[in-house]
Amino acid sequence: MSDIKPILEFKDIHVEVEGKEVVKGVSLTVNPGEIHAIMGKNGSGKSSLSNALMGHPAYTITNGEAYLKGKSILDMEADVRSRAGLFLAFQYPLAIPGVTVANFMRAALKSHRGADADMSDFRKLFKAAMADLSIDQSFATRYINEGFSGGEKKRIEVLQMSMLNPAMALLDETDSGLDIDAIKIVSEGINRFQNENNGVLMVTHYQRLLNFVKPDKVHVMMDGKFVMTGGPELALKLEESGYEWLNEEKTGV
C-alpha cells in the first residue's frame, strides 16, 4: 500500500538458548520515525529477542526472517549487522580492562566509516557527544565500563549510539539501575538521536522510561510471544494494573 521501506522488519522469529525455545514466533515492523516498546516481565524473552536480532552467538534463531532496511541480516555476523546500521544498547554493558573509552569509540567509528576513513574530526565529535550526555571529559581515558556506576555505563551506551548514529537502535533495559536524573539525561539522549529516518525499539520491564521517550506502539511479551499491541496507553495500563491484569485479560478470567 505504501512505498515506505521499514527500518526493521522481522517475521515469526523463534529463538533458542541452550536448546530451550525462549522466543516462540514474534513479528514486528518498525517504520522510519517510529518508536516501539516491548514490555514484559523478567524471563518473557524480550532480552533474548534483542540479543538474537543483534547476532549473539549464544542465541540461535531457529526460524523466521529479519530485515534491516530491506536487507536480510540473519546470515550476518554481529559486526556486519552493526555496520549495516543495527545497534544494541546493553542491559549490562561489559568492562574491557585496558581499553579506554576514547580508543574504543575511535575503533568503533572507524569500523563504520571504513579502514581508510579520515578520523581527524573524531576528537571534536567525541567531546561534543560527551558534553551532550553530561559525561565528564575525564572518562575519555578511563577503561570502558571499568568501575563505572550503572548510570555512567548507560550514558556511555547512549554515547556510542549517538556517535555511530545507527538506522535502528535496540535499547535493552536502558533504564534499569538509573535514578531519575540519569533517566532524564539518557532519555534526552535517545530523543536527540531519534528522527524521522531511524527507528527505536525499547525493551523494558517498567514504563518509567516511556514517560520520557514516547513510544508510538507498545507490544507486550509473555512467554516468548507478543500477546497484545497498543499505543502508549497500554504501558500506563500495565503500570497501573500490573502484568497480572494481562493474564486475566488474555485468559478471559
Binding site: 543483534m54 547476532g55 549473539h56 552467538p57 549464544a58 555476523e77 554481529a78 559486526d79 552493526s82 555496520r83 545497534f87 544494541l88 546493553f90 554493558p93 561489559l94 574491557i96 580492562p97 585496558g98 581499553v99 580508543n103 574504543f104 575503533a107 568503533a108 569500523s111 563504520h112 577503561y143 556510542q160 555511530l164
Partner: protein, 438 residues
C-alpha cells in the same frame, strides 16, 4: 656434541674461577664444587616439572667465542640518542658478560652514583660487594645458580648512595652471542637509604633458530633496597627465537622500602625465569607485575616468590600470560609468610589468555603461611578470550580479529602502565606485531 641428557662438570682449569681477589675465587670454586656435586634435578622435582633441566647444561669447553647479531649497532645508536635526549640516565651494553661498556649522564657521576663493572667494584667498593654479592643468588639457590656463581666473567654493579634519586631509567642491554655461545651475566644493585632508581634490564640476541648449538644465557640478579628506598626493576627478555634463557632474580626490601618488579618476557625458545622479593623490614612493600606473550613453539616456565620474613609487610603479584600458536607457559607463584611475620598482606593473581587451541598454560599457586594473623588471597584463570567481550566489540562494528587485538592490547596495557613511556611504546609495538597474524 655429547651434551644431551647428561651432566657435564665444570673443569678445574676454567679461567673464570681465577677471576677476582682471593675471597671471590674461593666463592667461585665452592660454587663450582656445588655445581659439580649437585645432580641434574629430576623432572618430578619441585619447579622442574615443566622444563627439562638438561636444557641448561653446557659443555663449557665447546663454547665458541661469541659473535653478535648484525643490527646491534642500530640498537646502540638509538639507545645513545635516548640518553642524549635525557630519556635515560645511563646505557650499559653488556656483551655476553665479557665486553661491557658504559655511557652515563654527567649528573649521575656528580651525584656519586656508581655504575661500573663488577670486577672493578670488587676493588673500589669491596665492602659493599663483599656484603651483597652472593647474598641472595648463590650455590645454595640451585644447580644453575651455582653455575652462574662460579662462571660469571664480568658483571654490572649499580650503587645509589643514601638520599639520591635517579630520575630517568638506567638501561642495561645484555646482549647474548649467537650459536654455540654461553654467557653468565651478573648484576648487583645496592640502593641506599631513601634513594630511588629505575632499572631496565633488557636481554636480547642469542641464537636465531633452534638447533643443537643454541645459545645459553644464565643470568643472576641481586638487588638490595635499604630502608625507605624505592626501586623499580624491569626485566625485559626479548632474546632471539633460538635462545635458551635461565634467569634467577632476588631482591630484598628493608624497612619501609618499596620494590616494583616488572618481569616481561617475549623472546627465547626456552625461558625459565625466577623472580623473588624478600620483605625484610617493617613497612616494606613489593609489587610485581609480570607479562609474557608467547607464540610459535616458545616455552616459558616462570616462578615468583614473595617471602615475608618480617611483620607489617605487604606484597602484590599480578602475572599475566598471553599465548598463541603452540606456545606454552607454566607459572608457579609462592607466597611465604614466616611465623613471626604478623599482620602481613599478600595478594597473587595469575591470568592466562589462550588465543587458539594449540597453546597451553599451567598455573600453580603456592601458599606457605605460617601464622594466622595475615590477609592473603590468590586467584588464577586460564581460558580463551571472553566471548561476551568479543560480542560487545562486534556489536559496535569491530570485526573478530580487531576485537581480539583490542582485548589483548588492553589486557597488556594494564601491566604496561608500570613501565616508562619510551619502553611502553616499544613493547606496545611489539605486541601489535605479534598480533598481526592472529
Amino acid at each position: 656434541m655429547t651434551t644431551q641428557n647428561q651432566d657435564i662438570l665444570i673443569p678445574e682449569i676454567t679461567p673464570e674461577l681465577k677471576r677476582g681477589p682471593q675471597w671471590l675465587q674461593d666463592k667461585r670454586n665452592s660454587s663450582k664444587e656445588s655445581y659439580n656435586n649437585t645432580p641434574i634435578p629430576r623432572r618430578g622435582l619441585h619447579l622442574w616439572r615443566y622444563t627439562d633441566p638438561t636444557t641448561f647444561v653446557v659443555d663449557k669447553a665447546e663454547v665458541a667465542d661469541a659473535t653478535f647479531r648484525t643490527d646491534l649497532d642500530n640498537v646502540i645508536e638509538s639507545e645513545l640518542a635516548l640518553l642524549q635526549n635525557g630519556h635515560s640516565s645511563a646505557f650499559v651494553l653488556d656483551k655476553a658478560g665479557r665486553d661491557i661498556t658504559f655511557n652515563l649522564a654527567d649528573n649521575l657521576v656528580k651525584d656519586g652514583i656508581v655504575i661500573s663493572k663488577l670486577s672493578d667494584a670488587v676493588e673500589t667498593h669491596s665492602e659493599l660487594v663483599n656484603k651483597h654479592l652472593y647474598s641472595q643468588v648463590n650455590s645454595e639457590s640451585g644447580k644453575f645458580e651455582a653455575m652462574n656463581s662460579a662462571l660469571w666473567n664480568d658483571g654490572i654493579f649499580i650503587y645509589i648512595p643514601d638520599g639520591k634519586s635517579v630520575a630517568q631509567p638506567i638501561h642495561l642491554l645484555r646482549e647474548s652471542g649467537m650459536d654455540n655461545s654461553a654467557q653468565f651475566p651478573r648484576l648487583l644493585v645496592v640502593v641506599g637509604k631513601n634513594s630511588e632508581v629505575t632499572i631496565i634490564d633488557e636481554y636480547s640476541g642469542g641464537s636465531e633458530t633452534q638447533s643443537d648449538n643454541m645459545s645459553l644465557t644464565n643470568s643472576a640478579v641481586e638487588i638490595f633496597g635499604d630502608n625507605d628506598s624505592r626501586t623499580r626493576y624491569i626485566s625485559l627478555q626479548r632474546n632471539s627465537e633460538g635462545a635458551k634463557v635461565y634467569l634467577a632474580h632476588r631482591a630484598k626490601a628493608q624497612q619501609n622500602a618499596t620494590v616494583l618488579t616488572v618481569p616481561l618476557a617475549f623472546g627465547a625458545a626456552v625461558s625459565k625465569q625466577n623472580f623473588g622479593v624478600t620483605l625484610n623490614g617493617e613497612g616494606a612493600d613489593s609489587k610485581m607485575y609480570g607479562l609474557l606473550f608467547g607464540g610459535g613453539h616458545q616455552h616459558y616456565d616462570n616462578h615468583t616468590l614473595h617471602h615475608h620474613t618480617v611483620g607489617k609487610t605487604t606484597s602484590d603479584i599480578n602475572f599475566k600470560v598471553v599465548l598463541k600458536d603452540k606456545a606454552n607457559s607454566a607459572y608457579t607463584g609462592l607466597i611465604k609468610i614466616e611465623n613471626k611475620a604478623k599482620t602481613c598482606e599478600a595478594y597473587q593473581e595469575n591470568r592466562n589468555l589462550l588465543l587458539n587451541r594449540g597453546c597451553k598454560a599451567e598455573t600453580i599457586p603456592e601458599l606457605e603461611i605460617l601464622n594466622e594473623d595475615v590477609i592473603c588471597s590468590h586467584g588464577a584463570t586460564i581460558g580463551p578470550l571472553d566471548p561476551e567481550m568479543i560480542f560487545f566489540l562486534k556489536c559496535r562494528g569491530i570485526n573478530q580479529t580487531e576485537a581480539t587485538r583490542m582485548i589483548v592490547s588492553g589486557f597488556v596495557a594494564t601491566t604496561l602502565k608500570q613501565v616508562p613511556d619510551d619502553l611502553k611504546e616499544k613493547i606496545a609495538e611489539f605486541v601489535t606485531k605479534r598480533l598481526e597474524d592472529i
